[in-house]
Subunit: 330 residues, 2 copies
């Protein structure tokens, strides 16, 4: 472990927020492995909440209100705000983050923005590390807020114990829910802007969609909020508490955390493999002129070397929630 890491550890022991800030920066720059090894034993205490939803639904306001209600209960709170990977602006996403500033002066609230540029492996890894560092640092509640514009953002929310999906009345969002498998990832639906003329219809739509499915165990709750006016936040906080209690009592918490752990290992392994594969492909293309064969032939040849090291297995993947297309016929 480097001297810098030792200083960060000392800051952790003295509960100095700068230690947490530096630890997350280490993770972001891909140099957090030693530090993680040192503090991972301290993780597992925090209640982690993922909050996702389309741009403009009011996620940052919801997040800010949740921080407020958690603080009222005497909890320390960490917030990780994941910027969308989209290169294009989606309205007021970043502007809305300003809502969180009311907590900037609270020493028991730690807020961190993380960009989601670059590849999924890198981000899921860094976000997972940030959650773990906040947990190890002693935050009681860790909220991961992501804009749900892509599969990767949803996967990030899945790192959490409890996933909130916020929806916008009158946006047609509900129509997309079934298609996209969102019903599966949501533990709690939040219909924000509950005073919108279409809010009741959205609630009805969510209820009818849920009736079409069989749930074993937890049945997603639906909470209507008007975050801007602080309405429905106590109810939302109570629903989060009920879900946390359910996870503990049912034993699902352990299973969920295994899945989250698997996700993080996966992100690290795939990130590294991608680097190796890129190098191997570069070697090949340089050598064969690239036109001698079809892509499947080239892929098959590269994979032949891996067959022994990573043999196929009959075990079903532990990453239960994410549908992932596999390359058949290779």
């Amino acid at each position: 472990m480097t001297e810098a890491d030792e200083r960060i550890l000392a800051d952790f022991d003295r509960k100095l927020p700068r230690g947490l800030a530096r630890a997350i920066s280490r993770a972001e720059s891909g140099a957090g492995a030693e530090l993680m090894h040192a503090v991972f034993g301290r993780t597992g205490r925090a209640m982690t909440v993922g909050l996702t939803g389309p741009p403009g639904v009011g996620k940052s306001t919801l997040c800010s209100e949740l921080v407020g209600v958690a603080r009222r209960d005497g909890k320390t709170v960490g917030v990780i705000s994941v910027d969308p990977s989209s290169p294009f602006s989606h309205g007021a996403i970043l502007g809305d983050r300003i809502r969180l500033t009311e907590h900037f002066t609270d020493p028991d609230v730690f807020i961190r923005s993380m960009a989601s540029r670059g590849h999924l492996g890198g981000l899921a890894g860094a976000t997972g590390d940030a959650v773990a560092f906040m947990d190890a640092f002693g935050m009681d509640v860790v909220i991961v807020e992501t804009v749900g514009v892509g599969q990767s953002e949803i996967e990030i929310a899945e790192l959490a114990d409890t996933t909130l999906v916020a929806l916008q009345p009158g946006s047609g969002d509900s129509v997309q829910l079934l298609k996209a498998g969102i019903l599966e990832v949501a533990d709690i639906f939040v219909v924000n802007k509950a005073d919108h003329p279409m809010a009741l219809q959205l609630q009805r739509e969510i209820h009818s969609m849920m009736e079409m499915l069989d749930f074993s165990g937890w049945v997603p709750e639906l909470v209507a909020t008007r975050a801007r006016d602080g309405i429905g936040i106590d109810e939302l906080w109570a629903a989060i508490g009920r879900h946390a209690e359910y996870l503990r009592v049912s034993g699902e918490l352990e299973a969920k955390r295994k899945t989250a752990f698997a996700h993080r290992v996966r992100a690290l392994v795939i990130g590294d493999l991608e680097r190796r594969v890129d190098a191997r492909i570069a070697d090949r293309i340089g050598r064969t002129n690239g036109s001698a064969e079809d892509p499947y032939g080239a892929a098959r040849e590269i994979l032949a070397d891996v067959e022994t090291a990573l043999p196929e297995s009959q075990t079903r993947p532990a990453t239960r929630r994410t549908t992932r297309a596999s390359v058949k016929g290779l």
Copy 2:
């Protein structure tokens, strides 16, 4: 090769569009490897154009107009419309696709929608296959239209020889361009809705951003259009022609196609590796209870087996355009 594949090949030889449709379906279901091997030698003739941009910019109208101008020049045209991976609706994306229907009855235009659900590896693979099948079938021009809401969609546009980035006046898009590295992927900027009050400002912003950079070789062109009224389409088509000519004369076409080939091999290899890694992780988590160690430790152990099969290399990856976060410190 299966009997079904033989029939598809026969349809290819007789220029029957149903052969092309079936070939793409084979690719989508992950069973296109044999067929690709059989027809890959016929590829390389088509001019491929990627068209990306934010929701609502008018991509489908642009696409439809480009099809029209290409047909006027006597070219056969294939269009691949990639649906966004977002689970949430983005306004009129799908509705706008209706614009393309005016070409549905033209036997020399082949239009195909592909969903981008599931993992990147799967989609990039299937989209790449669709481009290759259209090329092998004899389409002179192949347009890949994607909503640029994520890195993966931009990567798909990169499969093309010429990448068009369409931008929306008054949306703040240009601010995001530099950050997101879009300047690097665009061969031609299209400022659509050129009659918008902010259109000139957007053009000025793009010009000033370009002045801040050094270009070697092709300097991105900027074309203002009003696709809905057919204005600027001839100019856009001419710019695409100039870029195609530049690629041929400079020798960059060969380099670009090597990169595209590398991308496709990469998608196939990574897709397969992900499956193997998932199985390996499932084995591990089942065995060790998942809590005995930190994620980096677990990842390191899985990667140790791969080290021999896929050793690190000093060669730089051929995938020039995409910044990809690598997992350092492993």
